[in-house]
């Protein structure tokens, strides 16, 4: 195939992705101008990515929930609940059982957090798929239950969770050297993957896509990774929570495309009847989607506790809305069947970029909400508009 044709085709195939990336760049440029360049300083850049992590963990799971034609309103409160549970164990339990062992305590906290999240996912998922109560209602109820749960555990007070070791999860940085090693590893993997996929295609006798095109693409992503590491190394280095998020997002993207579980989720949301007649066990699949969502709430809750350093009554308030907004911005269809993890991550980054920029400009919280809401609607309108006028 010739190069320019392939470029064009790739462009049209991914027009939605490019629209949203352009939107993100527009937001960045605007704030950079408004803040006299400080917005994109290494320090703020580094913080910006850290700020997106908690809700973006939620968004990675939310994509699949929405893709199957469901919704989960409880994710913010579940992450909040996990964060106070973890804080409670950090502050009151581990130091009495394992005094002076911060790493053990941190590891156990992670375990507890993941377990609580997943168990709540099991419960909600079971009620939704096997007892056939609509997800909207179950998770709305779940949200109330968790709000109560948070009050019960905190007793209305703030619980510290800033113990050494545990605080590294969301506040740690890789040293510049380690950051470089990680970056080079990623680049090497990108190239290895390219070569292997080409070899496999050739082995099956498929038309292998243009070599320069593939190299160009891989170089582009490698450059992104390297530029990112260069910039954050000017500040403290690669942020641990961002690294965790990146790994989670890659795994989730892989799961959604390359496993039966992921494929079935898309088929169920796209045409439930066709999926059922294809022999797909719909109940089990939706159940598992909610279990996974709960597990990811566990991850988000742990990062949240470590990020703010304590568990509070208001933990996770409104995060479900940010997570849903991130998915929608990233092109997930509210009707189900369509949506990508990558898109949702960009959507999450846009939401974080807005919050960060508006805070920097000292815009009052009230107006921040107004702006975010307007941007969400505008972005979806732009998408609808471009699709129609293609």
């Amino acid at each position: 195939m010739n190069l320019s044709f392939e470029l064009k085709k790739r462009f049209y195939d991914n027009i939605q992705t490019y629209t949203i990336i352009l939107a993100m760049l527009a937001v960045w440029i605007l704030f950079t101008i408004l803040t006299n360049g400080f917005y994109l300083s290494p320090q703020n850049f580094s913080n910006l990515f850290r700020q997106m992590t908690v809700t973006s963990f939620l968004a990675t799971g939310m994509v699949l929930v929405i893709v199957t034609g469901n919704i989960d309103l409880s994710v913010g409160k579940l992450a909040g609940f996990v964060s106070v549970v973890v804080a409670y164990f950090q502050a009151n339990v581990w130091n009495t059982i394992f005094p002076g062992q911060p790493i053990v305590a941190a590891a156990l906290s992670v375990g507890i957090g993941l377990l609580v999240g997943a168990l709540f996912g099991v419960l909600q998922g079971y009620i939704i798929s096997y007892m056939r109560v609509p997800a909207f209602i179950v998770t709305l109820g779940g949200m109330f239950v968790l709000r109560g749960g948070i009050l019960i555990i905190t007793q209305g007070k703030t619980i510290p969770a800033n113990q050494p070791g545990f605080d590294q999860i969301a506040q740690g940085y890789l040293s510049p050297a380690v950051g470089w090693v990680a970056a080079l590893l990623v680049v090497a993997l990108l190239f290895l993957n390219m070569v292997r996929s080409r070899a496999r295609k050739a082995q099956y006798g498929f038309e292998v896509s243009n070599l320069y095109m593939d190299i160009l693409g891989t170089l582009f992503f490698s450059a992104l990774v390297i530029v990112y590491v260069v910039v954050v190394n000017f500040y403290n280095g690669v942020q641990v929570p961002v690294l965790l998020l990146a790994v989670t997002a890659v795994i989730m993207a892989y799961v959604s495309n390359n496993t039966r579980f992921g494929r079935y989720a898309y088929a169920i949301g796209g045409n439930r009847e066709a999926a059922r007649l294809s022999g797909i066990n719909i109940k089990r699949n939706i159940f598992l989607v909610f279990v996974l969502m709960g597990f990811l709430c566990g991850v988000a809750g742990i990062v949240l506790a470590s990020y703010v350093g304590y568990g509070t009554v208001a933990a996770g308030e409104g995060y479900e809305l940010d997570a849903i907004a991130a998915c929608i911005l990233g092109g997930t269809s509210t009707l189900g069947g369509q949506g990508t993890i990558f898109g949702a991550m960009i959507g999450g980054l846009i939401m974080a970029s807005l919050t960060n920029g508006l805070q920097m400009l000292n815009v009052p919280a009230a107006y921040q909400y107004v702006v975010k809401g307007a941007v969400l609607i505008l972005a979806v309108f732009a998408d609808v508009y471009f699709k129609k006028n293609r």
């Binding site: 049209y12 295609k201 082995q203 496993t259 898309y266 088929a267 294809s278 022999g279 069947g337």
Partner: protein
């Protein structure tokens, strides 16, 4: 321009990204005549009709169209505008709202309003009138999704006719109809013709051209090959123009010898799951041998689809009777169960049950087969693509790329995707509910060959078809259904269409 030309299509070209659907097409259509449009799957027939009905508005294609001696420019509210111009269309794919009643559907967008409120009495009275006028046996207040595909098709036609059309476009209206319903439609068309309505008629059942049309235009790969008065055409010339080569037989020969009985249904009685007092199956008996093709004939509503979906665990509540396979009683509760037993079903409704329209062709073909491409975790996407490619080739699916969305394919090619998907499941028993609906003659032949091949390799096939010729041409034995009962299983040797119809209509048992 001659006065009696109502529609003059000149040099129309329409492209989609990567596909030229129509290239320099010119057709003249005479007033008050029935004009046939014929061509292989993907030839561009539906695309041309969608230009006439405003789906692809003025400016999205090249060329000009004259309608009643004026240039037709359907622009802003193109679809509404076309209806107001008197151009009505029955689309190839059903466009009814399943959750609404027949009346609501027919009057959708033009409900009779009184003081800003819908006058329901008038709506249903008018609906009844339309249905009676065309002798359509459908209750006006039935919810559409409870009707079979055949009835839905009749509602669709009634909806188009309620518009006082000057031109009526019918895109494969008979693909889901049984013989008697086709007869009824033909009568309606004759009546309309007497009233001066012009009709453009698309079908893959070629005999219908000879039955009803005055002239036929043949399209191939988006180009007009020929326009002829029907009287100057015959089956052979039509096929030759269409596929570009000679086709001697409609059905491939076979030399298979069915083996032992492997599957048996005895005294099966089942009720409608939504209406438990209504029996949909009322004593069905048949057996199926290994490597056999068993045809199921019967009128619309005779329980054919209900039978196979019940066997597949997806429909009726079984009251009594047994289903056995390899001498073991089956208790199938879902499609999943059925597939574990090696039973696959090509469903009747490709859009509603067969395809995930928003997904690529590739993913649709592999959806029911991911187990064979997946290890514990990972799907081997290259193996998946290779298998889909092979199926695409076997069934000559006309697609630029298997990564394209399946709804960018023509109707017949979508149907081939559904068949490809189910052929890939490697079943022991393959049930096919009207598998060749909307598929062109050439591709049908390929599908028949694949079916014969499967049967020769020991797969047993149950095929439902509304086309008697197809049932007779392909089956080893034929079961005729009537009112939820099996009216006996006939050896295909020596059977006639008349004999089958007699059983199907209950004249003979």
């Amino acid at each position: 321009m001659a006065d009696d030309i109502i529609l003059d299509i000149r040099n129309v070209t329409k492209t989609f990204p990567g596909v030229v659907a129509l290239s320099d097409v010119s057709i003249q259509i005479h007033h008050g005549k029935i004009h046939g449009l014929c061509g292989e799957n993907g030839a561009g027939k539906s695309t041309l009709m969608k230009i006439l009905s405003g789906v692809y508005p003025y400016g999205s294609y090249k060329g000009t169209i004259f309608y009643e001696n004026r240039e037709l420019k359907l622009e802003d509210r193109a679809i509404r505008q076309a209806i107001e111009e008197g151009i009505a269309i029955v689309y190839q794919e059903l466009t009814l709202v399943p959750s609404m009643t027949v009346g609501e559907n027919i009057f959708l967008g033009k409900e009779p309003v009184e003081n800003g409120v819908i006058n329901w009495d008038k709506l249903y009275a008018d609906t009844r009138q339309i249905l009676e006028k065309y002798k359509l046996d459908v209750p006006p207040n039935a919810v559409v999704k409870t009707l079979g595909v055949g009835k839905m098709q009749m509602v669709e036609i009634a909806k188009a006719l309620s518009e006082n059309a000057r031109i009526l476009i019918l895109d494969e209206p008979t693909s889901a109809l049984s013989e008697s319903e086709i007869d009824k439609l033909m009568e309606i068309l004759e009546t309309l013709k007497e009233h001066g309505v012009t009709c453009i008629y698309i079908t893959h059942k070629l005999e219908e051209f000879f039955r009803i049309t005055d002239s036929v235009t043949i399209l191939r790969d988006g180009k007009t090959v020929a326009t002829n008065p029907t009287s100057e055409l015959n089956h052979e010339t039509l096929v030759r123009h269409m596929v570009g080569r000679e086709m001697k037989e409609r059905f491939p020969k076979n030399s298979r010898k069915p083996g032992e009985v492997i599957f048996k249904v005895e005294n099966l009685v089942a009720t409608d799951p939504n209406e438990p007092s209504r029996k949909v199956l009322d004593g069905v008996n048949f057996d199926l041998r290994q490597g056999e093709i068993l045809g199921i004939a019967g009128l619309m509503g005779s329980g054919r689809t209900e039978l196979v979906t019940t066997i597949f665990g997806e429909y009726g509540n079984i009251i009594s009777g047994t289903i056995t396979m390899d001498n073991k009683t089956l208790n199938i509760k879902s499609a999943h169960d059925a597939m574990l037993h090696g039973i696959s079903l090509v469903p009747e409704d490709r859009k509603g049950q067969g395809l995930v329209l928003m997904q690529p062709i590739l993913r649709n073909i592999s959806l029911a087969n991911l187990d064979r491409f997946a290890g514990f975790f990972r799907i081997d996407q290259d193996a998946e693509l290779a298998a889909a490619n092979q199926q695409g080739k076997n069934l000559s699916i006309k697609a630029a790329n298997l990564q394209d969305r399946v709804d960018s394919l023509s109707g017949g090619n979508q149907q081939k995707v559904v068949i490809a998907k189910w052929l890939l499941t490697n079943p022991q028993i393959l049930i096919m509910d009207d598998p060749t609906r909307g598929v062109d003659v050439g591709a049908k032949f390929e599908i028949y060959k694949l079916m014969n091949e499967l049967a020769e390799n020991g797969v047993s096939i149950i095929m439902i078809s509304s086309e008697l010729e197809e049932v007779i041409g392909m089956s080893d034995r034929i079961m005729v259904m009537h009112n939820g009962r099996s009216g006996g299983v006939l050896e295909t040797q020596g059977v006639t269409q008349e004999k089958i119809m007699a059983i199907a209509t209950g004249i003979e048992a």
